[in-house]
């Protein structure tokens, strides 16, 4: 065997250049040139977006949208109603609606002359057919039970009825939804993609080979969705809002690393970047040329430490209260200061009726130690004696924010005598374990709002009905009959003020019982090139491209100094 001698060769010049680039890449390039701020909207151009992940669940509206499919789905499929800039529900494909029968009937009057992407006119029959398609028992959808208040839902979902009795096409342009009991959240449910009208090409049963087709401002052409790579939607020229959309196309690239996104954004190949690292975002924001081009979206995701109330030691409410009081939430948000806000209650700020002055879960180490004493496990921080005798397994996924915040939590809880053992798993394994009864003793819970109403948080995360031994969204497996009764009453309460008061009481119960120790709200941070214009601020539709236009400078205009 001959020896392979190695020598200490000096680094080649390119390596030094690379190191210097990495070490000194503190400055950011100038924004791309743009037309004057008062330039009017104009047609044409494309919007390019990207993500480090990929669409998981497909683009059929009957399939639960994931974080990446919701945006394109919204552009392909218009709904009967939608949100305005203040997150109020307003008519969209419907020109108006009325509530009748003491809140048991919602009657929608459709706009006339709405052309679907297959060229046919939208009618009430399309709405009924789409609803029956979405809620049919053969449709692989986890959202169907959301609409179980519809009259005849049980028989239809069980396959005992050919049609859904509660959805009635009363004439060509009027469709009524009849509910078994009043439901104040029904208008919110109609903002979800599930029941959005589909083209007749969809048929009346789900098929995974169908090319998504609706009445939205952009349409998908065959071959324009390359799974895992790109999705391209082009303008629906017959969109019912005359003159919209302005863009010729919107294109998403998937599975693109954060670094690649930043580089392509700096080169103008992406028009908006949403997946900047915290450090990169900080650098852009610190640059006066970019500081006005960053957009902090609203908190639409709530995070907390979910404690399994059926597993020791968290079957003891005093231990849970101790955890809620031991967490210093200001430290949590230092992990991602650009995208997180400290939170001590169940409802993020975007939810109507949030009472920020209400005393929720607060950091109070003395109180936490007192709760430990009441639980029968007093802990002396001076000597380190006492506390819960066994290590507690904390489940987190990696890579991800929990891998960092879990280490903060571990330090916080050590101060009150709770020793965490952090177990990192993949995200898929995390979900499987967390949602199984007895799967995780403690884990990070998070919930992204489907709609900005308290019911979406409380009914989903803390109601007994949300417990499912094999796949529970109530990851604390928390059950409180008093809370269940309150939530049931709130759901049917039509008076908004009375309803909000009930949710305040629900918030107080959940904060006190502490199935979750709430920690922070999450919001996205976007950086947009200055030529991207026309976004309407909307917490639920942050990147709605319907009214967006591209304002490039006129040919011959000078680019700013330093522009690439």
């Amino acid at each position: 065997m001959r020896s392979i001698r190695t020598r200490a060769e000096p680094l080649p010049a390119w390596a030094w250049a690379l190191l210097a680039t990495v070490a000194c890449s503190q400055s950011v390039p100038a924004p791309m040139p743009a037309a004057a701020a008062d330039a009017p909207p104009r047609r044409g151009g494309e919007l390019h977006l990207a993500s480090f992940a990929d669409i998981r669940n497909g683009l059929d509206p009957v399939v639960s949208p994931d974080g990446l499919s919701a945006g394109p789905m919204h552009l392909i499929f218009a709904g009967l109603v939608d949100y305005d800039a203040e997150e109020r529900i307003v008519p969209d494909l419907a020109e108006r609606w009325e509530v009748a029968d003491a809140g048991r009937t919602y009657r929608f009057f459709l706009r006339r002359g709405v052309t679907m992407q297959d060229g046919a006119e939208l009618t009430a029959d399309d709405v009924k057919r789409s609803a029956e398609r979405a809620l049919h028992p053969t449709t692989p959808d986890a959202n169907a039970s959301t609409f179980d208040d519809l009259v005849g839902f049980a028989a239809y979902a069980a396959g005992k009825a050919d049609h859904l009795e509660g959805v009635v096409a009363e004439d060509r342009y009027v469709v009524a939804f009849h509910l078994a009991k009043p439901d104040a959240t029904f208008p919110y449910l109609m903002t979800l993609p599930t029941l959005r009208p589909t083209c007749r090409t969809a048929g009346d049963r789900y098929s995974d080979t169908w090319l998504p087709c609706g009445a939205g401002p952009f349409l998908l052409r065959p071959g324009d969705w390359k799974r895992g790579v790109t999705l391209r939607l082009v303008r629906h020229d017959a969109y019912f809002r005359a003159g919209l959309p302005y863009l010729d196309a919107v294109e998403w690239s998937y599975n693109m690393t954060q670094l690649a996104q930043r580089v392509r954004f700096e080169r103008g190949e992406l028009d908006i970047v949403r997946d900047l690292t915290f450090a990169d975002a900080s650098r852009f924001v610190a640059d006066p040329r970019w500081s006005s081009l960053g957009v902090v979206e609203a908190d639409v995701r709530v995070y907390g430490e979910a404690m399994n109330t059926r597993v020791r030691p968290f079957d003891d409410v005093e231990i849970r209260r101790a955890v809620a009081a031991a967490i210093d939430r200001t430290q949590y948000v230092l992990m991602q200061p650009m995208t997180t806000t400290a939170m001590d209650q169940a409802l993020p700020g975007v939810v109507a009726g949030v009472d920020a002055s209400f005393p929720h879960q607060r950091y109070d180490l003395a109180a936490a130690l007192e709760h430990m004493r009441k639980a029968g496990y007093p802990y002396d921080p001076a000597t380190g004696e006492g506390g819960w005798p066994e290590p507690i397994e904390y489940l987190a996924y990696d890579p991800g924010l929990p891998a960092l915040t879990s280490q903060i939590l571990q330090q916080d809880l050590a101060r009150i005598g709770l020793r965490l053992h952090i177990k990192l798993v993949s995200f898929a394994a995390f979900l499987a374990i967390q949602q199984r009864e007895g799967g995780a003793t403690m884990s990070q819970g998070n919930w992204t709002l489907d709609y900005p109403d308290p019911s979406n948080v409380f009914d989903t995360l803390f109601a007994s009905s949300a417990i499912d031994p094999s796949g529970s969204l109530n990851t604390a497996f928390y059950s409180n009959p008093a809370l269940d009764a309150l939530l049931a009453r709130a759901r049917v309460e039509i008076d908004p003020a009375a309803r909000m008061e009930m949710y305040r009481q629900a918030d107080a119960i959940v904060c006190d019982d502490a199935p979750w120790a709430f920690t922070f709200g999450y919001h996205a941070f976007d950086l947009r090139q200055p030529y991207v214009r026309g976004f309407v601020p909307n917490a639920m539709r942050p990147l709605d491209a319907t009214r967006v236009w591209i304002a490039r400078p006129a040919p011959g205009a000078r680019a700013p100094e330093g522009a690439p």
Partner: protein, 291 residues
Amino acid sequence: MFDPRARARFRRNGTAVAGTAVVAALVVFAVLGPLFASHDALQSDFAHGVGPDRLPVGPCAAFPLGADRVFRDVFARLAVGGRISLLIAISATLIASTIGAAVGIAAGYLEGRRFARVLDVDGVLMRFVDVLLAFPFLLLVMAIGTALDRTSAVTIFLVLGLTGWLGIARILRAKTMQIRSLDYVVASRALGQPTAWVVVKHVLPNVAGSLIVCATVLVAQMIVADSVLSYLGLGISPPTPTWGRMLFEGQEVLGAAPWMVAAPGAAIVLAVWGFNMLGEGLRDALDPHEG
């Protein structure tokens, strides 16, 4: 290393001496470093570790190598991480060397013989090695690591040790076959010495040099493997520091806080380079004919 001529050859090899010095320095740093650190490696310091831009502070008097994402002292974590990374690498190497030597010597010594006229021990062992070698090493380690509870140092070095012996087995097999045919070994066997005696008296001393060289280089490979596992999130669970995990946690803020990646990155590079140079030096010193 026991032969004065080998020692002299080693001392004349500047690169090998430098590698030894680097390895020694890293071991000293890992052992004594935590004693000189101003912070506990596992405790965040939110009072001093957070910079005005809300990023972890860079190298300064309180944090000689800066602070990490959780606002802990990178110096303290690098030293403690060094203990763990080196402990895992050396322990895994000891396991791999033991298994590799046993399999390689057994296969090489029994090559060409059949037990009960049927069992070809060498063939069975080497085909088993071939099968395992057909799997990419890291893929194999990751698969085992994922299947097991991979949250302790013991698990990691067992996984690495139980999968890292294949190369050593092949090399020692060839070396043993060569030694087995030497005249004095043949004579010893002809005089009726038991196989175990022949192996211990003649084979082991002759393959020891190759084994030491292989093991030294294997330490470097184990450091890389442990770092890769930690980097991929398959290593020891946090907050226990390892160099690979530190590298992983720092990558998101590479542009703004390069010290978080530079410190563990440099430690890995130095350790790998040091052990490789040490191994090369030992090979040249112990077996000059192959140099």
